[in-house]
């Protein structure tokens, strides 16, 4: 093989400059780079250039190309969005982005507690801030996402109890169910216990408990945004049967809502995307798993856990890995699942978010979300032919049944998209999942109601207030 790239000098490749390249080859006594590939059999050599698009070597050309592609997108700043279903449009304070875009955090990886003291402290603080919100003493360094966190939490329950059955008593996002199912299916069987009125049917669940049940799995808010009010009863039942109560949740409401740990949950898990992460087309998720500070539970956690430690200087705190020997790094297939590159940066972001929000911010946000959700329910339910999917308490998301309008949910979505509105997600032939956040103001909700009424062929029950923009 010749050296086709000998004259290819690129800003990303300092030693592509011919002079230094020659100097380095001379230093190691090699005639060409080809010598280094002596172990790669000739038969495996590609022997031709990869068929890739012509490169955009000048940064300005690259920027123009990629920006040109992205300019084809119309984002939720251009459209009025009521989309949720696992990825939520919350406001991200500027300081959050500032911190996670710092080169020191963005480009670091796995430094040791000394040179990467900042990373250890930032993630310890993330754990600690989440712990306050969740009222639990142990929270992991984030795993990939809420799907994985839940799969892992249930697997932990299986290992702890040595049992195989899991009762799924809430409505779960289908994609999340798919992931959890495929992840645990060798070890666990998921049994659906149909919900009643949007939340758990406690009696039905209790009836199916037994000494082969590893866990009851609750989602709150559920896939429809319903808040589970019966956690204490579920916990009591589960514990009586020797099973764990595993609660999947979104932490966004716990400025005002009682955290599951205070209602009997043994493992609480979920996603942190709501806490300071942009929507990113669904590409910014992180999973948390929280447990009590109980050695048996902690030793089943596969994730890294950063902990405080004393140092040679009295009063100074350092950081390090808690119970590192649990992990796959240390024990390969004898470890608990595995540890790998997951979502640390998003954890730092969530930590900054919680620090900025503080108790008052989380309380105000929780109340605002509850109020806007209720308001949106009222407005949409007032559209003729539209009624609420259930009577449960909802946070941020809820379903509406449009069967009375004579239109399918998909038809209504198409009609509203033509108005620049994403009214929600079709979760059934005549069922629409609608999401509101602190970025969805009263005027936005009113506009949805008006346009939905129009799409249903009926006039709205009141005028759209003038838009509240400057």
């Amino acid at each position: 093989m010749t050296e086709p790239s000998a004259a290819f000098v690129h800003p990303y490749l300092p030693n592509s400059a011919p002079e230094v390249r020659r100097e380095m080859l001379d230093a190691v006594g090699a005639a060409s780079v080809d010598e280094f590939y002596a172990d790669v059999p000739e038969a495996l050599r590609l022997g031709r250039p990869l068929e890739l698009p012509a490169p955009l070597l000048a940064e300005q050309d690259l920027a123009r190309h990629v920006r040109g592609l992205l300019a084809k997108n119309r984002s939720t700043e251009d459209r009025l969005s009521f989309l949720g279903h696992g990825t939520y449009r919350h406001y991200v304070p500027a300081v959050v982005d500032e911190v996670i875009n710092r080169s020191e955090f963005l480009t670091a990886y796995a430094g040791e507690p000394y040179e990467d003291h900042g990373r250890f402290q930032a993630l310890f603080q993330y754990q600690s801030l989440m712990a306050e919100l969740l009222a639990m003493d142990v929270v992991n360094v984030p795993t990939y996402d809420g799907y994985q966190a839940t799969a892992t939490a249930l697997a932990m329950a299986g290992r702890l109890t040595g049992r195989r059955r899991v009762l799924v008593v809430s409505d779960v996002l289908p994609e999340k169910h798919s992931k959890v199912h495929d992840f645990v299916r060798v070890h666990l069987e998921l049994e659906l216990v149909p919900t009643a009125g949007g939340t758990a049917d406690v009696a039905a669940a209790a009836a199916r408990l037994g000494d082969d049940v590893a866990a009851i799995w609750v989602e709150t808010p559920s896939a429809t945004g319903a808040v589970e009010a019966a956690l204490p009863a579920l916990a009591t039942a589960a514990h009586a049967a020797g099973a764990l109560l595993v609660v999947g949740t979104d932490p966004i409401g716990y400025g005002v809502l009682t955290p599951p740990a205070e209602q009997g949950a043994d493992v609480v898990c979920g996603d942190i995307q709501s806490l300071g992460l942009h929507q990113w087309f669904g590409g910014a998720h992180g999973g948390f798993i929280a447990v009590a500070d109980d050695e048996a539970l902690v030793m089943e956690l596969p994730s890294r856990l950063f902990g405080l430690a004393s140092t040679d200087v009295p009063g100074e705190v350092g950081f390090g890995d808690v119970a590192y020997e649990r992990t796959s790094f240390a024990r390969r297939e004898e470890g608990k699942e595995w540890v790998g590159t997951a979502a640390a940066l998003w954890g730092i972001a969530a930590g900054v978010y919680l620090a900025l929000m503080g108790p008052a911010g989380m309380a105000e946000l929780g109340e605002l979300l509850l109020a806007r959700t209720r308001y949106a329910q009222q407005r949409l339910a007032a559209v003729p032919g539209v009624r609420l999917g259930d009577d449960a308490l909802h946070l941020r998301e809820f379903t509406v049944d449009v069967s009375g309008t004579g239109r399918s949910a998909a038809e209504l979505v198409a009609a509203l998209r033509a108005e620049g509105i994403e009214p929600g997600i079709v979760v059934g032939e005549e069922l629409l999942l609608v999401c509101v956040t602190e970025l969805t103001g009263q005027a936005d909700i009113d506009r949805l109601a008006t346009c939905l009424a129009a799409a249903c062929g009926t006039p709205s029950d009141r005028q759209i207030p003038q838009e509240q923009r400057a």
Partner: protein, 524 residues
């Protein structure tokens, strides 16, 4: 800085960011939603989050950032196996646009043509780079991608009615441990092959281990030693001969881009780490991004959703299809770590075919140059394959130095931090004694490699001449020698601040009682 834990900075009443008030019109319509919460659902006491004005939160985290050593700041070649390369800043800027950050994954695909096209194009480029037929970009890291590999393999055998029969997965000791761990999590028994005397993967041992019970071999190549398995085709063929699949962990692909491809060696499935080979930033440990590439035979098992192109050229449009009937289903939310997918796309587009090859060759040149320089340090060695060239990294050993001085590799790593250098100590598995693994990638200039080696040589000299300075390191860090035995004792570990205050009441008492002490901060 001697920056306190954030809870110590709280002042009652301060606010970091304000939330809009409930609109009067909403309030009038819904009443007091908190008062009307069902019994037990209203939180009794607010969470004990700190109360801080905005600038102080910012300052705190900026100071923490300065106590961290990112790849942008140091000569980050000590994180061997992890391919710490330059993540171009232009790519970070490109992904920061609201046209990406504010996209919801379930928007009308007509409104998402740009991002769908980029992901689709990236899949096709990675298919070409791997030689495979189809690519999925959903996983968020290398180990997650390994999981997807084994999940597809499992589904494949089940679809062929061999799920019950094939209960073993074979890997090598110098393949990433997540291969073993993920196979175990998927329910397989794991068989681990050790290298031959020269450090090469042992083909005979593989053949002895293969059987109709084998579901797959899962190997890295080059291995974490930097040694390329010259018999890799024979390995794959041997696996195929017993009906097993061959899965290729291409975490170490950085030296072979454009040189050789997974499919050309017969592999059925492979994955890349976009945060290694394709330059997306490591983010303190994620999000990364995994690319799973498969042959046509395994394509039906890929996770969903899938992005498909309809039409050609200027008329092309991109749509989203759900997972197919044989798919392993969802492995992660939606389309994967989208910001990293766009970054990886931009990185490939900035280099092209010639540039990828130049990157690989430069990484390999840098590594062999570094190898020559490191071997000049008395006490350092490169076990296995003596005298052979390596691909993109080398697992070295300080065993000679240790025998001479009693200084361990870990101690040397800590002392390196005093020189502003990083060198990680988790060289799983600990087969090579006193290991250290260096991977220079293509991103560092010769002068920087020389600087790193000079620091290593200096620490080795200290180990011989003034070992106490090494043993008592660090000396120039914002934190001092830390007592890690606290961390393995359930009674003493503290994973969160609240646990810390609970377990160490004397600390809680001191913090509650004392005013904030004078800063004894070292300068930036």
């Amino acid at each position: 800085w001697d920056e306190p834990v954030i809870f110590e900075l709280s002042t009652p009443g301060e606010r970091g960011v304000l939330v809009p008030a409930v609109e009067p019109g909403v309030r009038d319509a819904v009443g007091d939603v908190l008062a009307e919460l069902p019994a037990g659902l209203r939180r009794a006491a607010p969470p004990a989050l700190p109360e801080m004005a905005q600038m102080r939160v910012l300052k705190h985290y900026l100071r923490l950032s300065q106590e961290n050593l990112g790849a942008d700041l140091n000569v980050d070649i000590g994180q061997g196996t992890c391919t710490m390369k330059y993540s171009p800043k232009i790519n970070d800027q490109l992904v920061a646009t609201p046209q990406l950050t504010a996209m919801h994954p379930l928007q009308d695909p007509a409104d998402a043509q740009g991002v769908l096209e980029i992901v689709w194009r990236l899949e096709r480029m990675l298919a070409e780079i791997s030689g495979m037929d189809e690519v999925s970009l959903q996983t968020q890291g290398g180990s997650a991608a390994i999981w997807a590999n084994i999940a597809m393999i499992r589904a494949y055998h089940e679809a062929n009615g061999e799920g019950e029969q094939r209960r073993e997965v074979i890997t090598t000791i110098f393949s990433h441990p997540s291969n073993a761990a993920a196979a175990k999590a998927a329910g397989y028994e794991v068989v681990t092959i050790h290298p031959d005397a020269d450090g090469y993967p042992d083909l005979a041992a593989l053949k002895a281990a293969l059987s109709p019970r084998t579901a797959a071999i899962m190997v890295t190549n080059p291995e974490d030693t930097g040694i390329y398995n010259p018999a890799i085709t024979e390995w794959v063929d041997a696996a195929h001969a017993v009906g097993a699949l061959a899965s290729y962990d291409q975490a170490n692909a950085n030296g072979i881009l454009g040189i050789t491809r997974a499919r050309d060696a017969g592999f059925d499935v492979c994955h890349f780490n976009l945060h290694k080979t394709f330059s997306t930033p490591h983010g303190c440990g994620g999000p990364g991004s995994g690319a799973n590439a498969v042959s046509a035979a395994l394509a039906p098992f890929l996770p969903g959703p899938r992005i498909v192109r309809i039409g050609e050229g200027d008329d092309a449009r991109f749509e989203v299809q759900g997972a197919g009937p044989q798919s392993i289903g969802t492995v992660a939310p939606f389309f994967g770590v989208v910001p990293n997918l766009v970054r990886a796309y931009a990185w490939i587009m900035a280099l092209g075919a010639e540039g990828l090859l130049a990157a690989a060759e430069t990484a390999v040149l840098n590594n062999n140059y570094l190898l020559a320089k490191v071997l000049e340090i008395p006490g350092a060695s490169a076990p296995y394959a003596s005298g052979r060239r390596r691909i993109e990294q080398v697992r070295y050993s300080w065993q000679e130095l240790y025998e001479e001085t009693g200084i361990t590799s870990e101690e040397i790593g800590v002392r390196m931090s005093d020189f502003g250098m990083h060198y990680w100590t988790s060289h799983h598995p600990y087969v090579v004694p006193q290991p250290f693994t260096l991977e220079p990638t293509e991103s560092y200039s010769k002068a920087e490699l020389d600087e790193y080696v000079a620091a290593l040589a200096e620490v080795a000299r200290e180990a011989r001449e003034t070992p106490e300075i090494v043993r008592t390191a660090p000396h120039r860090q914002s934190v001092h020698h830390t007592h890690h035995d606290d961390l393995d004792d359930p009674a003493r570990w503290a994973v969160t601040w609240r646990a810390y205050l609970r377990k160490y009441p004397e600390v809680a008492a001191r913090l509650a009682g004392e005013p904030e002490s004078t800063a004894d901060a070292s300068a930036a």
